[in-house]
Symmetry: C2
Subunit: 224 residues, 2 copies
């Protein structure tokens, strides 16, 4: 059956797209970029994919060494998919796609889905720009009630879903709904407005100044 379709070009870009350029493939990587997921979670995070296509993509990605199957530590014990180091090295591609796509965002289109993890990816990608400037810190995001650990530093940003619960002593806990996080990360909602309107808020403390500074870093404008 299917000889894998290729562009047939000895070109670095075309070779990359031979592997991750098919429909849905990079979105599978996006889903796994916030941590290991079960098959069912992936289906839930990729509305419309169709179960056969997800199975095909996962099989291809496993064959390319981009994802691997693992087993979660007890008590979960369920079998999950996760990125390999080759898969994690796709992060800069995701980051740049996210940053470019941010310019196209407006208010959600009629019928668009929105998941907390997608907002986390948008935030992480926007922060990656700042991370190159040497900024660092650890944060907890609570996006529609789902917690993520965000760590910025050493020229990169890392953000994974925190099913284990607590972040060890984060510099700040930022909470809000997914749409607000996306809006700020896309530059469609100014830090000032996000903080004043209460779209985003700092949890567990009243430090509005720290929140505002964090939002400004998010949009890449140097705070005072």
């Amino acid at each position: 059956m299917g000889e894998k379709r290729s562009y047939g070009q000895h070109c670095t870009v075309a070779r990359a797209l031979d592997v991750v350029g098919e429909r849905w493939t990079l979105l599978v990587v996006r889903e796994l970029s916030t941590g290991p997921k079960r098959y069912k979670d992936l289906l839930g995070g990729l509305p419309g994919i169709g179960t056969n296509l997800l199975a095909n993509r996962l099989k291809s990605l496993a064959g390319e060494g981009i994802v691997s199957r693992g087993t979660l530590p007890p008590p979960a014990g369920s079998s999950v998919y996760e990125l390999t180091s080759l898969g994690r090295s796709l992060e800069p591609v995701i980051v740049e796609l996210s940053r470019w796509g941010a310019g196209l965002m407006d208010t959600p289109r009629e019928g668009d889905d929105l998941r907390p993890g997608w907002a986390a990816v948008a935030v992480r990608s926007a922060m990656a720009r700042e991370a190159a400037g040497g900024c660092s810190g650890t944060y907890e995001l609570r996006i529609d009630g789902v917690a993520f650990h965000l760590r910025v530093g050493d020229g990169q940003a890392d953000c994974v879903e925190a099913w284990q619960g607590s972040t060890p002593a984060p510099d700040l806990v930022v909470a809000g709904d997914a749409e607000s996080f996306v809006a700020v990360a896309s530059g469609k909602l100014s830090p000032e407005e996000a903080v004043e309107s209460g779209a985003l808020w700092a949890e567990g403390q009243e430090d509005q100044a720290a929140l505002l500074a964090w939002c400004k870093r998010l949009v890449g404008r140097t705070a005072a």
Copy 2:
């Protein structure tokens, strides 16, 4: 007819892929990233695309504001496609895809095509890494006899086909075949070996030391 297919996700990555994620689309952008091209040139640079699909993609890209139609200055006068500023802002996506794809490169597969412009993109993308370190310079590449102007500096690298002929006082003129340029840019051929074997050579001068230093910058290892 075609209601444009969308992932239906309020996500920065998915939104980007809604626009440039279809088959061939980013390769059209790659082709235009080394300068304006006629329809016929695009067909030649995208073997296998099929004329109807190229026409469709160009129409979509024009509708999205990523490419525009222009007319070349006399004496050429032909109508060409070129990137808009929105299109040029896709450069970081191309760069990261190229850098990731470089890790997958080996010797050309049986039947693979190879064009000078693709090698130029690989070189430019590899240099973008170094450009962030503050390096700068202007170079002329002669890849299988086709000249490109490469300018590195201010955190980015720019490389366009030089149909007008001469580069104004380049720091170095590097010549070789496309496969060698791709091999060095992908880290599959060491700078030392490329220079010693004559795969790449400096034209118009005998400055092997400068050539070696350039090759080392290309692969991102700090030269002595």
